[in-house]
């Protein structure tokens, strides 16, 4: 980002950019109907810190100061506070306090490459909280402006195996460096010497998973709106100190990296990775997109499901509504209405009697109108059976904007296609369908893609139980019998495939 920003400020490509944006504004936006890419509200941010939770709210902090707050993880608005300005902060909860780390400088903007990384604590993220107060910021790393490093864009990682706290920092000006901090004070561990672990990255992040340390860095060019080529790549290592190699064995010190997320779904220029583990097997990554094609090309917060394939993180596409069959991972049976099976009529001959030269013709699929009158009027029970491409197995999943959302997604209704009949939860943790969607929370579903690519589905609420449900998921009690039960990533009973129709 630092490479391109200066010329933009100086005026040359600023003009170019303006022209591009204007061109875009005249483009008929009605052509693009599937508006699901980013968060709702006013999620405008650059370099969002890893999402942190405080008293039930979500927070992320960006370059320049300030940040975003969300009550539900879907609707974001400004209001988070961070003093000190500078570039690309990160926040991590350690014990009952939050450690902030940030680059106090601009990475070559408005000055040279004398960078400073500072840490400070706060007992709360909520500016309204009586305990909200920042401690004095303390320098933990710096660059002198001459060396091959610019100390900005820091991250924090608390190693779950050792309890040690690590930071990488740096930008395109030279190397990405690793240092160790003291998790009790947020100060640099005395005597710790910085180590180069990558080149040519910005906004790096470190994460640990299953015996591997992952270094995520942003490549490409930022701050050029819809032409920004920012993208997030990853290398991994068995030791936190590296070497971080990509999938072809290339060291990130030689520019290596495997793509985690690039442009897609009407947003481009993802940068500044952050990982949030929601539950075992349920993870999201946060980033910003340099340009949201639905929002004048402004820089917005992005939250995407995070998948793990062969030990590599990959962002999934955002979940879109649409027509799906809902298939249990347990046996592969499809979720369906418990109604009479209606046979499709056809002329048949024993196959060994058919003349191979007889012309063929297509057979129409079964239509809703062929069967709907055979269905009861009131509630209809739910079961699973082998998928036969029939209307009682076809579901339409539709976001319900007024129902709000959760971290990275919005609540949906799940209805039998072309009807209002909606999947609902009962007070005794079983399933039913109601003849028409009413907006009741037991008819709303949270749909999350899992790290293995499958999905879990949670009703927003369970009748008779307080609060938002985060415990009970759609679950295969038997091959044919769906129910609700507690989330268990290690059981295929809790997982579902969503096959687009």
């Amino acid at each position: 980002m630092r490479q391109i920003c200066r010329p933009i400020i100086n005026g040359f490509s600023f003009n170019l950019l303006t022209i591009n944006i204007l061109t875009f504004l005249f483009f008929p936006s009605s052509l693009f109907t599937n508006r699901v890419a980013a968060q709702t509200g006013a999620p405008y941010i650059h370099d969002p810190s890893t999402i942190a939770e405080c008293d039930g709210k979500y927070y992320t902090y960006g370059t320049g100061g300030g940040g975003l707050i969300s009550e539900d993880g879907w609707n974001w608005h400004s209001g988070a506070e961070r003093p000190g300005g500078g570039a690309a902060p990160d926040v991590l909860k350690i014990g009952d306090r939050y450690l902030f780390i940030y680059g106090a400088t601009g990475g070559g903007l408005g000055g040279g490459h004398n960078g400073r990384i500072l840490t400070m604590w706060n007992r709360s993220l909520d500016p309204q909280s009586p305990v909200f107060a920042f401690t004095t910021a303390v320098e933990v790393a710096s660059s002198d402006g001459m060396e091959d490093c610019d100390a900005i864009d820091p991250c924090l990682m608390l190693d779950p195996t050792t309890g040690r706290l690590w930071t990488t920092y740096g930008t395109y000006f030279g190397a990405i460096r690793l240092i160790e901090l003291d998790p009790k004070t947020g100060f640099r561990v005395k005597g710790n010497v910085e180590k180069d672990v990558a080149i040519d990255c910005e906004a790096t992040d470190l994460i640990y998973r299953d015996g591997w340390y992952y270094l995520l860095g942003t490549h490409g060019t930022c701050c050029d709106g819809v032409n920004s080529t920012y993208n997030i790549v990853v290398g991994r290592s068995r030791a936190v100190t590296g070497p971080y190699l990509d999938n072809v064995g290339r060291d990130m010190l030689q520019g290596g990296g495997r793509m985690v997320i690039a442009a897609s779904d009407r947003v481009c220029g993802p940068g500044h990775f952050g990982r949030t583990v929601i539950d075992e097997g349920v993870e999201v990554m946060s980033c910003h997109f340099e340009a949201d094609f639905e929002r004048s090309g402004r820089s917005v917060l992005g939250i995407r499901p995070l998948l793990w394939r062969d030990g590599w993180p990959e962002a999934a596409k955002p979940f879109k509504g649409g027509a799906y069959s809902i298939i249990s991972v347990r046996r592969g049976y499809s979720l369906e209405l418990a109604v009479d099976f209606v046979r499709i009529q056809q002329e048949r001959q024993a196959f060994w009697r058919i003349d191979p030269n007889t012309p063929v013709h297509p057979i129409a699929p079964q239509q809703l109108s062929d069967v709907v009158d055979t269905w009861p009027q009131g509630e209809i029970a739910i079961r699973c059976s082998d998928y036969m491409m029939r209307p009682h197995q076809h579901w339409t999943i539709t976001p319900v904007p007024e129902a709000g959302g959760y971290l990275g997604g919005q609540y949906c209704k799940i209805t039998i296609s072309d009807t209002e009949r909606a999947l609902a939860t009962t007070a005794d943790l079983e399933l039913t369908t109601v003849p028409a969607f009413t907006g009741a929370p037991e008819q709303l579903w949270r749909i999350e893609q899992l790290t293995d690519g499958y999905y879990r589905l949670l009703p927003k609420a369970i009748p008779g139980r307080e609060g938002i449900n985060t415990r009970f998921v759609l679950f295969s009690a038997a091959d044919s019998t769906p129910t609700l039960a507690e989330w268990d990533f290690n059981s295929d009973n809790a997982k579902w495939k969503l096959d687009a129709q």
């Binding site: 408005g110 004095t136 303390v138 005395k190 005597g191 520019g255």
Partner: protein, 670 residues
Amino acid sequence: MRHQQLLSPYYLFFLALSLFAERTSAQNPIIRDQFTADPTARVFNGRIYLYPSHDIPVAEGARKDWFCMADYHVFSSDNLTDWTDHGVIVSQEDVPWGNPSGYAMWAPDCVEKDGKYYFYFPNAPKSGRGFAIGVATSDLPDGPFRLESKPIVGTSGIDPSVLIDDDGSAYIYWSGMGIRGAKLKNNMMELDGELQEVKMPRREGMPEMPPMKVGGQQMEGLPEGFKEGPFAFKRAGRYYLTFPWVREEGGTETLAYAMSDSPLGPWTFKGLIMAEHANRCWTNHHSLVEFRGQWYLFYHHNDFSPNDDKRRSVCIDKVTFNADGTIQEVKPTLRGVGIISATSRIEVDRYSAASEGVTTALNDTVYPFLGLHASLPKKGSWMTFGDVDFSMITDGYVMLCVKADENTELTLREKSAKGKVIARAKVTVKSEITRPGMPTPFRRDQSGQWLTLTVPLDYTPKGIADLVVTCEGTAVSVDWVQLRNRQQYFTPVAKNTASAKPDEHGFIRRWQLMEPQKQDIRSNVIFTDSWLRKTFADELDKLPKKAKWYAMESPTYNMKLFRFAEKYGSQAYGNLFWCETVFDCTEDISDVRLAAGSNGASMWWIDGQEVLLLEGDRRMVVDDGVSHRLTLKKGRHTLRCAVINGPGLSDMCVRFIDEQGKPITNFNIQ
């Protein structure tokens, strides 16, 4: 108790700083990451060891507004400036006879006899009032120390000091109802001679205390007034008894001394070693030691705790003896002793001398060990920091940590405020608006904030010199100054140097680099295929005939062209680089690819034929793009590349790889 303390972030700060044995390069105070007081310095095996008390913030349950000391660290140094903390050697919880939460570990001492180290320390006993003096022994000066199960019988007091005479006899001195001295038995753990019953002074309103059995004798000949903390030593056949002394009613402690011809007196009072602290820090405590032919006074002062004189820090200054054995009074300095390397953080606020109005203050009042800074109030203000060693600076630059409210300027000079300018630093805290109406998202008012400036050196002093900081504008504060040598990015290749192989990974590190050709490129978004082809073709046509070429070898796999431009170009950003290398193949090498990466766009030619174009705003990646399969015929070839970059860290790397991606190394680079 201990666990409650751990919850305090303030305590954690100290804990964090004390977890690791750490070297600190120090001016006064010499230990800069924790409080230290009551220093006893000893020379063992040619190295100087420091045994201080260890002040900590008042612990939970301990007396407020009082000294609080729970353990002892030992430090050592071989140059008086770089100190290693060897960690805790004795803790109050480990003393078998002590109160585990007494926080009364006052001034200690350590002496060596017959290869064994004896550590003497005062401590509160498990029960009863008062203090006793304990012993711990070790085979090494930095421990581990084994604690004796009982204190020395008859030593009811604090601040032990032990003198070993030339004949091997040992004497112990301590403070308790005046200053007492006694001969130690050969085992170094018992007083020689009978104990006396001493009547305890009766306190107002308190019941009369039973008399106490005390050894040794009162030291005679010392002046009236409060005395404590004896330190005894022998020099040139004379015995010295030195001690903190309050010379006037309501005063604070001086350091004073008396002399004698025998170890236990009687003493002749001689006067002061150091006057009262100017800031009324109530205590002082000290030792004197000879190290490499020079005598030093170790003492303490509350530099890191200016508002609480019960958290103290050890300082050192030189001591001079007169011919008659008397001691010249020592004026405390901020600079302290020792030679400071120019490449270490020079805490210039610890100046040797300064103009009127120069002040010092803590950087942070919550975390004192973030150090101090000095403020130069006006144009012409200066401070001198003596004895900086510049001898290792070859191609240097300097960093300055500074703060100002207005744009100003300062210089570093040699010797004096009018001396030769080493470096000149502009402090710009309010940047000018370059173009009215243009967005300036990162332009900020940085007045009142600490900034680290980096400036080149105009001049490098030779050897050891005094460093002077002068204010050339409005007021400026300085935290530290540090010099560094520039990294070497290239080695020039001399003519007639033997040919070289590519490195083990196949990278070609030896090139002819044309002096950078300045380009007016504000943004790299213009680097499309057709723009590059046209630009490179045009530039190749008018390749400057008179341009200078530099034969360079890189110590790394990549050629850091940005650094080349910085040194040999008119500007670091916005350049076209022509690079050429000639190599010989001793046989045909078929089915190879040229594999390159570049920061900025680049084009690559072999023997005049374009083989690869890397377009766009790129960062350098090894094997980012490769050519089609090539055959390198036996004989000489020319590899040429052009790298073009606007605002980027220009760089390139290249090698030949085979069908499996393995590097080709069997050719010779001229």
